[in-house]
Structures are given as structure tokens and as C-alpha cells.
């Protein structure tokens, strides 16, 4: 395990002092020997860049701000929507429709007017990451996709900034500190991303609302420890959090000498195209619909159903999704389709749907291979139906 002395820590500027108001505000830190005046001045001198003001970014930014991290940067280009509020505690109901940066800035300034907040209304890209990272001491990665994860890692390695890492899925999380001088980086752990579609995102798979709170606070804790130079950082260790079992496990991480980013023979000497690296073509990683897939719009389906045409609607979502909303489709979850295909009549016209159209495209491809000829995919899924046919239907 790497020790703290190997980690690059921000230099405390000798001219930094605390005002009387700040001394009062940070008194519970100042009376602890592990922080004290020296530590609080280190926090004030520190510059931390948060990537994302979402689930992980919310607790990260709130606690780093409250703790008195002098300069906090946030990169985000998203807008607050209702589905964020179950976990992104920096935003409130009144913020729906606002830029996440504006919403976050209001809360953070209200918590601590003494910090210097720097907001970057942009997507983190290979073109801007290095310049951005150079202005900070460390980066806290709260992004939600593989291309940005690899981009953050490589940019941290190239600029020599520690990457305080956290990621979540459903009720499990991972946290570590990557890219310190002698510690492993994210690529040492995972040399390659999964192929698109194999690992579901939070939007597809769901996430327990408290989980980003747990993991984001672990990230904030690690960032503050790195700044203070106290304790044992998660360098060379991967912390696994299982909120359902409430188990915390720790795995050993090693610096891979053959790592293309931080190994002895590095091949990544500049940032690359991370969408291409992760196998994503274009901006939207649309589900592979294949050439021969027949699509039908929600308006066409509505018309056919209204005309009492013989249409068999197949819903390939999960039962708990069916409970949220449905269009009286016959429910066979995609995973059960191979063993339940016998329940379907191949002579009838079948329209398959899911939430957005991705899983049903797979179902249609499967049914076509199984010999079904009159099977169509409902473009945009039940979400498109709720938007364009039945506005009273809930969206999720």
C-alpha cells in the first residue's frame, strides 16, 4: 500500500490565514489535533475539482464546501429533472429545469460563503480535461459513464493529480483513490471497459437513493484525508459497499507494471477518443437495432389498436416496471423470453415494447431468429407512449 508521504499534497501558502468568522465556523475542526489550524489552512489552500453535480457530486460538494476546502470546482452541463431528486440532494424541487451548476452554486454559497466556487458549464472532454485538471490539486470523479471514467483517469495520470474515485450501481458501490504517484490507476484495475449495453447504467438499472450519499461521502472523506495528510487513504485498496447487506469489504489493488496509462511502458501519452475506446458510436449510444428490425411508432400502434386490428402487444419489461404503468401488454420479461417463447403465436402481428426501446429491440431480434416474421419494435417504448399518446401515464 502506498503511504501518504508518496502522495502529492497541496502546499499550504504561508500567507493564508483564517478570519475570526472562519475560526468560529471551523472550531470543531480546529480543536481536533488531526486537523487543527495547520490542517484547516491546508483545507483552505486546497483546490478540488468535482466532475459532475449529480448523485455522487451532491454529497461530495456539500461536505467539501462545509469542511472549508478553499477552492471547489464543479464540471457539469446537465439540467435538474424530477428523476434526480430521489438522490441528488444538492438540488431541490424548485430547481427542476435549472442548470445543475446554478442550483448547486446557490446551495454551496449558502452553506459556506468563504469558499471560492468555480463552475465549468461544459462536458468534460479530451480537449479540455488536461488544462482544467492542472488548475486543481485533485479530482473527485462523480461521473456516470465509462468514457468519462477513463478520460478522468488518464487525465489524472497525465497531470499527476490524485483521482478520488467512487461509482455506484443499484445498492452496491466502489471507492478508491487512483493515480497517486506510486499507487495504481483505474486502468490497473480495469484495463478495458465493458462492451456497450452489457453493464446497465443507473438510468437503466436503477440506484438506491442513499447509495450515492454513502459513496460520495466516502469520496469526500478521502479527499479531505489527502489534503490533511492524515490517516490511511484508499490508495491500493478498492472498497466495496453493499448497502443491502450493509457490508463493507476491501480488496487489494496493485499497480500493474504493464498498465498502458501508468505502467513502465506507457502507451497512453495523450488523451484519446474515449467514446471510440468504449465502443460508442456517435453521441447517443443507441441500442443496436440491426438492419432487418421492423419499427413501429407509438402513433401507428395507437391507430391500429383503435381500429381494433389484431395486434398482440408484448411487454418485455420487468414485473415491477409493469406495476408503474402499462398498456395492457402481455408481460414476458426479456430474460424469460427464450423459455417462454412457446406462449406466443407466431401467426399474429406482435408489437414488442419496453421502457425506451432497447430491450424490446433485443426481443424482436430474438423472435425473428426464432422464426417470427410479423414482429415489430415499438420505437421509444412506453416512455414515448406516455409522452405522445397518453400524457396522463406516469413516466419513470
Amino acid at each position: 500500500m502506498a503511504t501518504l508521504s508518496e502522495t502529492k499534497l497541496p502546499e499550504t501558502k504561508p500567507e493564508t490565514v483564517l478570519s475570526n468568522d472562519e475560526i468560529l465556523r471551523y472550531s470543531r475542526h480546529l480543536i481536533m489535533p488531526e486537523v487543527g489550524m495547520e490542517g484547516q489552512l491546508k483545507l483552505k489552500a486546497a483546490k478540488v475539482l468535482c466532475i459532475g453535480a449529480g448523485g455522487l457530486g451532491s454529497p461530495l460538494a456539500l461536505y467539501l464546501t462545509a469542511a472549508g476546502v478553499g477552492t471547489l470546482g464543479i464540471v457539469d452541463f446537465d439540467v435538474v429533472d424530477y428523476t434526480n431528486l430521489q438522490r441528488q440532494i444538492i438540488h431541490s424541487t424548485a430547481d427542476v429545469g435549472r442548470k445543475k451548476l446554478d442550483s448547486a452554486a446557490d446551495k454551496l454559497k449558502a452553506i459556506n460563503p468563504f469558499i471560492n466556487l468555480r463552475t465549468f458549464d461544459t462536458k468534460l472532454t479530451s480537449a479540455n480535461a488536461l488544462d482544467l485538471f492542472r488548475e486543481f490539486d485533485m479530482v473527485a470523479d462523480g461521473t456516470d459513464n465509462f468514457p468519462t471514467r477513463y478520460l478522468v483517469n488518464d487525465a489524472c495520470v497525465l497531470t499527476g493529480k490524485p483521482n478520488v474515485y467512487g461509482s455506484i450501481f443499484r445498492f452496491e458501490g466502489q471507492a478508491s483513490v487512483f493515480a497517486t504517484e506510486n499507487g495504481p490507476c483505474y486502468r490497473c484495475l480495469y484495463p478495458e471497459p465493458p462492451p456497450p449495453g452489457l453493464v446497465p447504467s443507473c438510468a437503466e438499472g436503477g440506484v438506491l437513493g442513499i447509495l450515492p450519499g454513502l459513496v460520495g461521502v466516502i469520496q469526500a472523506t478521502e479527499a479531505i484525508k489527502l489534503i490533511l495528510g492524515q490517516g490511511d487513504p484508499l490508495i491500493g485498496r478498492l472498497l466495496l459497499v453493499d448497502a443491502l447487506g450493509m457490508k463493507f469489504r476491501e480488496l487489494k489493488l496493485r499497480k500493474n507494471p504493464e498498465c498502458p496509462a501508468c505502467g513502465t511502458h506507457r502507451t497512453i501519452t495523450k488523451l484519446i477518443d474515449y467514446d471510440q475506446f468504449c465502443g460508442i458510436r456517435g453521441v447517443e449510444a443507441a441500442p443496436a437495432t440491426g438492419g432487418g428490425l421492423s419499427e413501429i411508432s407509438v402513433e401507428e400502434l395507437k391507430k391500429k389498436l383503435d381500429n381494433k386490428e389484431d395486434i398482440f402487444v408484448l411487454d418485455v419489461r420487468e414485473p415491477h416496471e409493469y406495476q408503474i404503468c402499462n398498456i395492457n401488454g402481455y408481460l414476458i420479461p426479456l430474460g424469460d423470453l427464450p423459455k417462454r417463447v412457446g406462449e406466443l403465436d407466431s401467426s399474429r402481428e406482435i408489437v414488442a415494447h419496453c421502457k425506451m426501446g432497447g430491450r424490446s429491440a433485443k426481443a424482436v431480434a430474438f423472435l425473428q431468429q426464432a422464426g417470427f416474421t410479423k414482429v415489430h419494435n415499438l420505437t421509444g417504448g412506453i416512455t414515448a407512449w406516455a409522452e405522445r399518446v397518453d400524457p396522463k401515464m406516469p413516466k419513470y
Binding site: I168, L189, G205, E250
Partner: protein, 113 residues
Amino acid sequence: MKPRGRGILACIFAPYHSIFIDMPQIQIPSPLRQYSGKQASVDVPGNTVGEALAGLVSQHPELKRHLYTDDGKLRAFVNVYVNDEDMRYLQKEATALKDGDTISIVPSIAGGC
């Protein structure tokens, strides 16, 4: 499978060894549980990590595509740990298992939103 280190009882009851021997337990991460009959852990026989993983995918064939590439190699975004040690730094799939060992499959997850 040979019974491992359980003395005479295990030899006598060798045909029923699975009753007497702690089989290695494989921890299934939540993204993959939909392919393991929703089980969080699966007990499978095996003297090595490779044997245990082969046992796992034979019990749950749907897991195979998620753990292995078409040419049978373990996928690069799936890490396998024996207790707290990455098998890449042990003897990989040939790593021998002891009674009570826990194998963890730790795939990369990216969520943060």
C-alpha cells in the same frame, strides 16, 4: 473432484463429499445477479478458480456470455478475487482453492448520476 483435507470421513463419504466439504463460495455482484437466478452467492465445487468458475457457468449458463469472451477468455472488465487478492497476481485461473475461500466477481460499474 477430490475431497480436500477432510480425513477419513470425507473419504468414506466421498460420493457425498459436497455435504461434508465447504465448497468455494462465489460472490455474484448485483449487475450479474439477473443471470444467477437472483442469487447473491453460489456454492460450486472446484479445486482451482478456473474449475469453480466453470462450475458456476455450467449451473448458470447465462452468466457465460457476461464473464467470458467468445473465444473463452475472461473479460477484461471482470476481475476475479480470491478473498481479497486479485487472481491476476496469484496463479490466475490455476489458483488453488482452500476450504472456506471466497471468490468475488468484481465487474466495473460506472454509475454516479
